[in-house]
Amino acid sequence: MSEAATTRRWAVLRRETGRALGAAIIALAVAFLIILFSSKTPLQAFATLTTAPITKVRTVGLWIDDVAKLTVAGLAYSLVFQARQFALGVQGQVYVGALAASYIALSPLGQTWCAIPLGIVCAMAGGALWGFLPGIAKARLGANEIVSSLMLNYVAIELANYLIRVDLTTPNSRLLSTAPFPSTAVFPALIPNTRIDIGLIFALTSVVAVWFALYRTSWGLKLRLVGHNSRFAQYAGIKEAFIIVSAMAASGALGGLLGAMFVEGRSFGKLAVSFEGNLAFEGLLIAIVARNRPLAVPVAALFYGYLRQGAQLMSIRTDVPSEIIVIVTAVIILLVASSYSVKPRAMLAAITRSSRPARTHVEAVK
C-alpha cells in the first residue's frame, strides 16, 4: 500500500526536478539571445558564462564558496516559508551577524582560539534577535512581517555602515572596511589555495539540522501544520504565535551564521561595506526553486551558484555585464514561481483534468 505513496513521492520529485531543469534551460536560452544581441563576441561570452567556473581550481573554489553561502541563505528562507511567514529579513540578519562576529574578532578575544566559535554563537544570537523582532511584532501587534522585516534590513545595513565608518576602522583610515581579522578569527581552509573553508561544513550541517528540525521534531511538525493551514493549527490547539516567533528567530540565527561565514570566511576576513553583494536576497530564489525543502536547497544552490559565478567571470572577461544574471534569475523565478502558489488540491485537480480536455479536443477535431 505504502509503495504507491513511495512511487508517488518519486513522481513528485521527478516532476519538480524536471520543472526546475526546464526553467533553467529556458532561462539559459533567453540569456543566450540577449548575449547574442548585446555582445560583439557572443559565443565567447556564452561559453564563459556556462563553462568558466569549472576551468580552474580557483574558480571552482569561488563557486563552491558561493554555494555554501547560498545554501544557508536558502535554508533561512525555507524555514520561515514553511510556516507561511513571508519574512524577508535574511539580509538584515546577515549584517547583524557579521557585526557581532566582527566585534568578537577585533576584540582581544579575537586573538585566541575561541574567536571562531564565540564569533559564530554571537552572530547567530544577533541574527536570531533580528528575526525575533518582526516575529514578536506580528504575534503581539499584528504587524505585517514582510514590511517589518524589510525595514529592519535597512536598519541593519545602515547600522553596519555607520559602525564600520565610526567605530570599527583603524583611525585615519579612509577604507570602507575594518582592518583584516587576526588569523585566529578567520576560517581555516578545507582545500588549500581556494576559498573553500569550513563554512562549507557549517552549510552542510545546517542542511541536516534544518531538515531534522522540520521533519523529525514536534516543533517542526507544528511549524509545517501552521504553514499548511493556520486555522487548523489553532483548532488543534497548536500555539501559533509561539511557532511563528520561534520559526522567525531560528531563521534569523541562520542569517546570523551566514553573516559570520562572510566576514570570517577566507573570501573576506574582515567586515566591509556592502560585503554580501545581494547574495542574501538570492537565497529567496533558492528557497523558491527548492520549494522550501531543506534537502533540495543545496542542489538548487549548486546550480544557481554556478550561473552566478559564470556571470561574474563573464563580466570580467568579456563585454557582457554581469547584470545578465539578473535576467536569467528573473526568468527562472517567473517559470518556477508561476506554479509555486498553486495549492495542492488545485494542482491535483489541474493534473487530473489535463488528460481529459486533451481527449475532448481530439474528439472536437474529428
Binding site: A5, R216, T217, K222, F232, Q234, A236, G237
Partner: protein, 519 residues
C-alpha cells in the same frame, strides 16, 4: 399545453462523473426539464445534486453522457459556454464584489457602453427595469456588502437574468434565508416562470419543494431514483424515495442518566462586528447523551460550538466542563480536559491538506509523550497510530503517508473523526458531521457517534440536516436569532415539521415545556 411531442428544454442523459479519489458523484443520471416549469431536484447530502448542477452549468465536465438543449446535443466546456446558451446559476456561496454597488455587480462583465465609456445611467435604468419586471426588488445603488443575504441573492439572480438567462439554476437558495425572505423568493420565482423563464431548484426542505415546484427529480447515492409530478407527491413519498426505506433511520440508543459534563450558563457571544450572535444561552449536556442543536444557519449555534471549543471569545456567562469553568483555558488545555471537536468545515478547519494523513492524525496530540519525547517525533508510533485508525475507521487511502488532499470528502471526514475519537472523549463537539459525505460514510459516522455516546461521552451536535438530528439526538435545542426558543426530548412523535416551525420562529414553546427538556 402538452410537452409530449416536444423535446425538453434542457435534458441530461446518462451523466456519470467520478471525482479524483474515486468518489462516484453521478452514476448514469437522467433529468429532463421542460420550458416554463419549476423543476426541483431533491436528495440527501451527497446524493449528487450539486455535481449534476455543476455539469449543467459547465463548471464540471461529465465523464460520460450527454446534454441536450431543445433536443440538440451541446457541450459546456466552461460556465461561459453555459451562460451563452442561456443558463444561469446562483450558487450557495455568492460571487459578488462586496464594495461594488448592486447594479455594478449585476452588469459586471457585460456593461452597457457608450463609445468606450461605461454607461452607468443606462446600466442603472436596465437594472431597475429588470428588477421591477421580475419582482426582485433591490436598490441598485446600494453597495452589496450593506445588503442583507436575501437581497444579495436577488442581485445574483438579476445577474443571471441580465446575461439573458432563460434557465436559472438555484442551488439550495432557501438555506440562507429567513422565512420572510423565502416567501419573497417564491413570489419572484413565480414571476420568473410566468414570464417564460425556467427554474431548476435544488432543495433539502420538502415543504418548500412541494410549495414551489411543478415537477421533482429525486436523487439518491449519485443516481436518479425517479421523477414525479408535484401534484402526485407527498412529503412522506418523497422522503421514502430520498432515503430509500420506509422508516427514517434511528440508531439504537442505550438509556442514559449520566452526570452533567458540559454546562453552559447564560452565555452571550458577539461576532466580529460586535453584534450579539448568542444571547443568554443556557444548556447542559450529560455524560452519555447527545444534545442536538437545530436552527437555520446563522442563528448562533455554530458560534456556540466555537466558543466551547475555545476559538471564540465570550462576552458574558460561563462554560464549565465537569463543574469547572473552562473560560480561562486555551484550546490545548480544553482538549486536555477531554474535549474533542469535529469542526463544521473539514477543509478549512479540520485538516492540513498539504500534510500527510499520519501527520493530520496526531496534530492534536503533539504534546503527548506517545508521539513526541524530548521534542523528537516518534515516526514509528505515528505510523502505527495512523495504520490503527485507518483500519478501525476503514479509511480508503494509499497509506499513512498519503497527503490529506488526495482523499475524497467522505474519507477526509473519516480522518477528522478518527483523530478526534482516537481516544474516548469526555465532551465531543460535532458540527455538520456528514455534510457532503456519501451515504456509506454517513451511516458509519452516525454509528461511531452513537458508540462514543454509549461509551459515556457528552455529545453536542449541530447539524443542518434535521433527519440527522432526529436520528441521533436524545434531546434537541432549537436556535432562533441567537436564543434557544424550544427544547424537546427526542421521541417518535417529534417530527421535522415541529422542529422546522420553531426554527423559523413560527411556533414557540411555553416556558414550562421548555424547562422540562432543558435540564
Amino acid at each position: 399545453m402538452t410537452t409530449e411531442n416536444m423535446a425538453p428544454l434542457l435534458q441530461a442523459i446518462g451523466i456519470s462523473k467520478t471525482y479524483p479519489g474515486g468518489v462516484v458523484a453521478n452514476d448514469n443520471v437522467n433529468i429532463a426539464v421542460n420550458a416554463g416549469e419549476v423543476h426541483a431536484v431533491v436528495g440527501e447530502n451527497g446524493a449528487g445534486k450539486s455535481t449534476l448542477m455543476k455539469i449543467l452549468f459547465g463548471v464540471e465536465q461529465a465523464d460520460s453522457g450527454e446534454l441536450r438543449l431543445v433536443g440538440e446535443q451541446v457541450r459546456f466546456g466552461s460556465p461561459r459556454a453555459a451562460i451563452n446558451a442561456g443558463i444561469g446559476m446562483v450558487f450557495q456561496h455568492f460571487s459578488l464584489v462586496p464594495s461594488f454597488s448592486a447594479y455594478e455587480n449585476i452588469v459586471l462583465g457585460s456593461e452597457p457602453r457608450s463609445g468606450i465609456r461605461f454607461d452607468r445611467r443606462k446600466a442603472i435604468e436596465e437594472v431597475r427595469a429588470l428588477s421591477a419586471r421580475f419582482r426582485l426588488h433591490v436598490d441598485p445603488l446600494q453597495p452589496v456588502r450593506q445588503l442583507p443575504v436575501g437581497q444579495q441573492q436577488r442581485v445574483e439572480i438579476l445577474k443571471a437574468l441580465y446575461r439573458g438567462g432563460r434557465i436559472l439554476i438555484l442551488d439550495e437558495p432557501t438555506a440562507v434565508l429567513t422565512p420572510q425572505e423565502v416567501t419573497e423568493l417564491f413570489s419572484a420565482i413565480r414571476a420568473l416562470v410566468a414570464q417564460g423563464r425556467t427554474v431548476i431548484f435544488i432543495a433539502h426542505k420538502l415543504p418548500e419543494v412541494l410549495e414551489i415546484s411543478s415537477r421533482i427529480t429525486v436523487m439518491r447515492g449519485g443516481k436518479t431514483i425517479g421523477e414525479i409530478e408535484t401534484k402526485d407527491a407527498t412529503e412522506q413519498k418523497l422522503a421514502n424515495m430520498m432515503v430509500g426505506r420506509e422508516v427514517t433511520l434511528r440508531v439504537e440508543r442505550k438509556p442514559y442518566n449520566g452526570k452533567v459534563t458540559l454546562a453552559v450558563n447564560r452565555l452571550s457571544l458577539m461576532n466580529e462586528l460586535r453584534a450579539t450572535v448568542c444571547d443568554d444561552v443556557s444548556l447542559t449536556v450529560r455524560s452519555g447523551e447527545i444534545v442536538g442543536l437545530a436552527g437555520v444557519a446563522g442563528n448562533g449555534q455554530a458560534e456556540l460550538i466555537e466558543a466551547i471549543a475555545g476559538l471564540r471569545s465570550v462576552a458574558g456567562g460561563d462554560i464549565a466542563i465537569g463543574g469547572e469553568s473552562i473560560l480561562p483555558l486555551g484550546v490545548r488545555a480544553r482538549r486536555g480536559k477531554g474535549m474533542a471537536s469535529i469542526p463544521e468545515d473539514r477543509i478549512s478547519q479540520g485538516l492540513a491538506l498539504g500534510a500527510s494523513v499520519a501527520e493530520n492524525l496526531v496534530a492534536t496530540r503533539l504534546d503527548d509523550r506517545l508521539f513526541a519525547r524530548g521534542g523528537l517525533l516518534d515516526l514509528g508510533e505515528m505510523r502505527a497510530n495512523a495504520e490503527r485508525l485507518i483500519e478501525r475507521f476503514s479509511i480508503r487511502i494509499d497509506g499513512p503517508n498519503a497527503l490529506a488532499a488526495t482523499l475524497s470528502g467522505g474519507n477526509m471526514q473519516k480522518v477528522v473523526v478518527a483523530r478526534e475519537l482516537s481516544e474516548q472523549p469526555r465532551l465531543l463537539l460535532v458540527s455538520q458531521p456528514t455534510r457532503g459525505v456519501d451515504l456509506g460514510s454517513t451511516q458509519f459516522i452516525w454509528r461511531i457517534l452513537t458508540e462514543t455516546r454509549n461509551a459515556g461521552a457528552a455529545v453536542l451536535l449541530s447539524s443542518a440536516d434535521l433527519s440527522e438530528l432526529l436520528a441521533l439526538s436524545d434531546r434537541l435545542m432549537v436556535f432562533y436569532r441567537g436564543r434557544i426558543v424550544a427544547a424537546f426530548r427526542n421521541s417518535d412523535e417529534l417530527t421535522t415539521e415541529m422542529l422546522g416551525a420553531c426554527m423559523l420562529g413560527l411556533s414557540r414553546q411555553s416556558p414550562e415545556e421548555m424547562r422540562a427538556a432543558l435540564a
